[in-house]
């Protein structure tokens, strides 16, 4: 996933960015509403982590603007406002979840996973791709009980494919997901990462639709 983190506190922002990146997601971290607006217009994010009290205004203003222009990017509010009225206001403004500071990073991971699943319409916590068992929120792939390790960029490509698993994903959409990792995108970069994924997961997992894009083959969706 490509995640936009909007947090003005340097210490907390740094830790959250490092944690989210450690989960294999690409993170853009900004500290003001203005920068967040610019980022949102330039890039399509899979998730935004939004602080409410920012130096140049309230995060709720940004959220209202987004929903007003029908930007459906999932948003988790990270805030020190713990009152139930703040929570209701945040959810009414279009937030998908609300996490009160201080929070455990594990809880943040769970909330991010829940929101991502909800948007990807994955009601369970793991997917079956042939003999593979994939747990996107846990960043785990098992083949007959054995872990398969993927790099952050490989996860970014797989996440993009999983998020739109019933549709075809274009090459440019995958390129955008890779940009977040600061990767230098060359004409064959997408092919390189798709090739690596096929090598690790099996050729049959990712289908190539020549001249159109790629599609992942999900056999089944199961609950834990």
């Amino acid at each position: 996933m490509r995640v936009l983190l909007v947090e003005d506190d340097a210490i907390l922002g740094d830790a959250v960015k490092a944690h989210v990146a450690s989960l294999g997601h690409a993170v853009d971290w900004v500290t003001t509403l203005e920068d967040a607006s610019v980022s949102l217009r330039a890039v399509t994010y899979s998730l935004m982590l939004l602080d409410l009290r920012l130096p140049d205004g309230s995060g709720l203003t940004l959220l209202r603007d987004m929903r007003g222009r029908e930007d459906a990017t999932p948003v988790i509010i990270l805030t020190a406002h713990d009152q139930i009225s703040d929570r209701i206001e945040g959810l009414n403004c279009g937030a998908d979840d609300y996490l009160v500071k201080p929070f455990n990073l594990g809880e943040l991971t769970a909330r991010m996973g829940a929101v991502a699943r909800r948007y990807a319409r994955i009601p369970s916590t793991f997917l079956c791709l042939g003999e593979l068992k994939v747990q996107p929120t846990e960043r785990r792939i098992l083949r007959k009980g054995e872990d398969i390790a993927l790099s952050g960029r490989e996860w970014a490509v797989l996440d993009t494919l999983l998020a739109r698993r019933t549709a075809i994903v274009s090459k440019s959409q995958i390129e955008e997901a890779l940009y977040a990792f600061g990767a230098e995108i060359e004409s064959n970069t997408v092919e390189v990462y798709v090739s690596r994924l096929r090598k690790k997961l099996g050729r049959e997992v990712i289908e190539t639709l020549r001249g159109v894009g790629y599609r992942i083959k999900v056999d089944d969706v199961k609950a834990d």
Binding site: L12, A80, Q83, R87, I88, P102, A110, A114
Partner: protein, 443 residues
């Protein structure tokens, strides 16, 4: 409150009493003036009678040959019951020459001297004629005058006796009407509490009460400002305190993951544990500050049932053990004049306590029953009434081996009191012999 002074009662009693006293004084003065005026009228008629009678009597005496015997004039109309005027004609020696039919022949005790004379029975006017040789004395009974004065007095008093009760009723009515704005102001002031500090706006307030209303409104504005400032400070403090704790906690947790297998990891975990405790204590102190600022009361009635749903959902997401068993009948509402945020604090504290101090493997039952009573039950050791009273105190924990601040119940009680509700703690034993701790919110 029969012993409390009442302006209405005081005004009614004093005005009615004053009215009675002034009425009696007025009647007394009236009787006095009337008696004086009556005296003048009676004297005038007495004098006029004597002066008109004198020439007739003298003429009659001169026409008669024998004036040696005392004569009594007979009445032409018989004896009348209300005859008060009598007269005697006397010579210079005092002998009665002639007298009216309704008086004895004995001479009046009045001296033979022109003018008025009075004893305890009558008032006499004497005129002299024929160079002081004949005296005509006309007497008027004082009973006549007393009777006139008494009847006049009663004539003044009787309407008063009828009007006085009506006057008292009028006083009561007027006083009630006059103090109605005071009562309205009293009610408006007494309706103010920490949940309703809006200004008092009453139409047609008398000028005497307007400065009071103005001062009360000024006070309410200042109080509202102070409470707002206190609440804002608490909210700002929450932000200012939570963010650095959140940063420190997140950095520590990252450090722990980066120090995997390192001997320094346990130390980092101790730092994390300390930060978690600090976060919990900070949370409780902020809640206590809010409770002390009186956030519980509210002038607006809201449905608290959805707040219960939200808080339970919050715990469900945080705690994946599935210990919470929540039951609320569909359509059941809890509409109360309470602050939703304060109610959420109460629920969080009680549920946290149940999860923390209840048996780890046992479920926590949360129920909202008919009538809006909310009960939270968990498996726990039996507690005596003294122990139940003890854990309500600040900084007292039910189990010192468990983490906690010991403030949760004190905060809960404070907020519930502001909502006119109460917290009932009980230790119950089921038929199966299982001990349960129950916290009940009763509105």
């Amino acid at each position: 409150m029969p012993n409390q002074p009442s302006i209405s009662r005081l005004l009614t009693v004093w005005l009615s009493g004053g009215l009675l006293v002034f009425w009696l004084i007025a009647v007394g003065l009236g009787v006095y003036v009337m008696q004086d005026e009556f005296g003048e009228i009676f004297d005038s008629s007495l004098q006029e009678t004597a002066e008109r009678l004198a020439p007739l009597v003298v003429d009659d005496l001169f026409l008669r040959d024998d004036n040696t015997a005392t004569r009594q004039l007979e009445s032409l109309y018989g004896t009348m019951p209300d005859e008060y005027l009598t007269y005697q004609v006397r010579d210079a020696s005092g002998r009665v020459l002639l007298h009216s039919h309704n008086v004895a022949a004995d001479p009046y005790p009045a001296p033979l001297k022109a003018g008025f004379w009075e004893d305890e029975h009558r008032r006499i006017y004497t005129v002299s004629a024929v160079s002081g040789t004949v005296f005509v004395q006309v007497a008027d009974s004082l009973d006549h005058r007393k009777e006139a004065a008494t009847e006049g007095g009663f004539a003044l008093l009787l309407p008063g006796l009828l009007l006085l009760p009506l006057s008292v009723l009028a006083v009561i009515y007027i006083v009630k009407r006059a103090v109605r704005p005071v009562d309205q102001l009293r009610q408006a002031i007494s309706s103010k509490d920490s949940g309703n500090l809006s200004e008092i706006e009453l139409d047609r307030m008398p000028v005497e009460l307007q400065p009071i209303m103005h001062s009360v409104n000024l006070l309410l504005t200042r109080l509202r400002g102070a409470l707002e400032a206190e609440r804002e400070l608490t909210a700002n403090s929450a932000h200012e305190l939570r963010t650095p704790i959140a940063g420190a906690l997140a950095q520590t947790q990252m450090l722990i993951s980066e120090l995997a297998q390192s001997p320094a990891q346990p130390r980092a975990m101790q730092v994390e544990s300390a930060l978690q405790k600090l976060a919990t204590l900070n949370e409780r102190l902020l809640q206590l500050a809010r409770a002390e600022a009186g956030i519980g009361a509210s002038g607006n009635a809201v449905d608290l049932a959805p707040i219960l749903d939200l808080v339970v959902e919050e715990f469900d997401r945080r705690d994946s053990s599935g210990r919470l068993i929540y039951q609320r009948d569909a359509g059941l509402s809890l509409i109360k004049p309470a602050n939703p945020d304060a109610f959420a604090i109460i629920l969080r504290n009680l549920i946290e306590n149940a999860l923390l101090y209840g048996a780890a493997d046992a479920p926590v039952h949360i129920e909202m029953g008919q009538g809006g009573a909310i009960t939270i039950r968990n498996k726990a050791s039996a507690m005596s009434d003294e122990e139940l009273a003890h854990i309500r105190r600040r900084f007292v924990r039910g189990d010192n081996t468990k983490p906690g601040s010991g403030l949760g119940l004190a905060i809960t009680e404070r907020l519930l009191a502001q909502m006119n509700a109460r917290l009932e703690l009980s230790s119950i034993t089921t038929e199966a012999g299982q001990s349960l701790f129950q916290a009940k919110i009763a509105f």
